[in-house]
């Protein structure tokens, strides 16, 4: 299964390091990273493999949200199927 992690907020030092170390902690493999500017905000999108995730995906999503709060950013981990179904026929 693949998941999409989005990080939105004011740019700062160490965001990528913090998010990716959190991923490594739970055996999440980052396969793609891209950055854009959305409404003048830093926006990072990571596509990840979560097959070897050591905790429940819902719990991982909560954990990422919490990391976001600590960084003062909005971080969401979502199942990839949502984007596939909404944007592809």
């Amino acid at each position: 299964m693949r998941a999409v992690i989005t990080v939105v907020g004011k740019d700062n030092v160490g965001i990528l390091a913090r998010v990716s170390s959190e991923c490594a902690k739970y055996q999440v493999n980052i396969s793609e990273v891209s950055q854009t500017i959305l409404h003048d905000l830093f926006c990072m999108i990571m596509v990840c493999e979560v097959d070897r995730l050591t905790i429940e995906f819902g719990e991982f999503a909560d954990r990422m949200k919490q990391v976001g709060e600590e960084l003062g950013m909005s971080i969401q981990a979502m199942h990839e199927d949502l984007f596939n179904s909404m944007h592809r026929i």
């Binding site: 999409v4 939105v8 854009t36 999503a61 909005s74 979502m78 199942h79 949502l82 909404m86």
Partner: protein, 452 residues
């Protein structure tokens, strides 16, 4: 594979534009709970609902977390209770309402619908008693919703039931006058009621449905409005195209959640309701879409045309996004649940007569409208008859959910809180239809019914 620029669009839709799944509704047949002894029947009802719906709320919450999609309501709809009441004629059907309430609390759902009767062509055993018990049932319960189908294109309109429902709507509001007449907000009177509708207060589980089924209702007026706001200078064909594309995306999300809920609960997937359901939150309003299309205020001349186009585009976009479509499917125009409608009603731009015209071209009917507390029962009956006539002749669902604001007059406000919202008391015609309503009988099925 999606493009990465699709991802921020989806996130913005969910976080800023109120995109959500309005409801996952589990339909449960209670036909196997029928018993001549009401206490036995109630016990079976409670057992079946709590057994079947045990995992509904946890599974929906799991899906919310994994996909990052808010699922606002988890609901249950059941077989019209009048059919169960038919077997125990001497008992007070309110016992059924109390059993449903207990089951709703035990499963943690937001609402349970199906305290209902289908009387479009006349009353069968159980129907009278159920109708008469509605005011008490909605007074003593919190989660139970009630609906009565009084007409259809195939059957015509049962005007005896219409006369009765005028009195029952009033009595329900009176019994709950100390709670802002909330009872009447949980009661809807239908013509051509769909049997797979996931939305309250009108959801019930039709007799032609399987034993249990998952139906999903989507939402997303904010997304449609935002898409329109970003696209200046489109002609109306362009506006319609844009709405179609947006509705497609919204509905795909509904389809995904419906399939996933169905798989995880091991309950068949029924339908996705292609709806645009507003909430009182700012930015989640159907009225604001109409205003974005080009009206100074919802209710202005042109509102019906804009709504017809919106409703049609939502269906065209949604129908390809889902494998099975049903329910009410279309734009909803509940007054107290829509910030733009509330504004328009307060300012006098939107009147009940305009709302009636709008119901001819959109999904439901006169929905969540506060009317003066001294409105006579026969006026409420006549409002129901007018709406039912629109539904009967146009082969569509129409409904009436009006709330007589007991003790209040035009211009005063009534507030329900939560998704039911708040709004001003609106003016209704003071001329009497008493003689029409007192005639009773049946309006025969129209010529449109002869399709064979």
């Amino acid at each position: 594979m999606y493009n990465t620029h699709d991802i921020p669009e989806t996130i913005t839709m969910i976080q800023d534009e109120h995109l959500d799944i309005r409801t996952v509704t589990l339909g449960i047949s209670l036909l196997d709970c029928i018993d001549g002894d009401i206490d036995t029947a109630c016990r079976r009802i409670y057992d079946k609902i709590t057994r079947t719906a045990r995992d509904l709320v946890p599974v929906c919450e799991e899906i919310e977390r994994e996909y990052g999609i808010p699922i606002i309501n988890k609901r249950i709809s059941v077989t019209p209770i009048a059919m169960l009441a038919a077997a125990c004629k001497t008992s007070n059907p309110v016992k059924f309402a109390l059993a449903l309430e207990r089951a709703a609390k035990a499963t943690g759902v937001n609402f349970i619908g199906g305290y209902s009767a289908l009387v479009q062509k006349g009353f069968a055993a159980g129907d009278y008693a159920l109708l008469e018990s509605i005011p008490e049932a909605l007074d003593v319960t919190e989660h139970v919703c009630s609906s009565v189908n009084i007409g259809s294109t195939k059957a015509g309109i049962n005007m005896d039931a219409v006369a009765k429902m005028g009195r029952i709507v009033r009595a329900t509001a009176e019994r709950t006058a100390d709670r802002n007449c909330i009872g009447a907000a949980k009661l809807v009177v239908f013509c051509n009621a769909p049997e797979d509708n996931p939305f309250m207060a009108g959801a019930f589980h039709g007799v032609g449905e399987p034993d249990c089924v998952i139906n999903v209702g989507v939402s997303g007026p904010g997304v449609v409005r935002a898409a329109l706001a970003k696209s200046e200078g489109l002609d109306l064909a362009g506006v319609s195209e844009l709405i179609k594309r947006t509705a497609f995306k919204i509905t795909r999300m509904g389809q995904l959640v419906a399939k996933e809920a169905s798989r995880r609960l091991c309950i068949p997937f029924g339908i996705v309701d292609l709806s645009l359901a507003p909430t009182p939150a700012v930015g989640d309003s159907v009225a604001h879409i109409l205003e974005e299309i080009g009206l100074e205020k919802c209710g202005a001349a042109g509102t019906t045309a804009a709504l017809a186009m919106l409703n049609d585009a939502v269906k065209k976009g949604g129908v390809m996004a889902s494998s099975r479509v049903g329910g009410l499917s279309g734009a909803f125009i509940p007054v107290t649940e829509d910030a733009g409608m509330i504004d328009a009603a307060r300012s006098g731009a939107l009147r009940i007569e305009k709302l009636e015209a709008m119901t001819a071209v959109c999904s439901v009917g006169l929905d969540m409208i506060n009317i003066p507390g001294d409105t006579p029962a026969e006026v409420i009956s006549a409002i129901i008859a007018d709406e039912a006539a629109i539904g009967m002749i146009n082969s569509k669902t129409t409904a009436v959910r009006v709330i007589p604001a007991i003790g209040k007059q035009v211009g005063e406000e009534l507030s329900f809180g939560g998704l039911l919202g708040s709004g001003p008391v609106m003016e209704v015609s003071r001329y009497s239809p008493a003689k029409l309503i007192a005639r009773g009988g049946q309006i025969p099925a129209p010529i449109q019914s002869l399709k064979n």
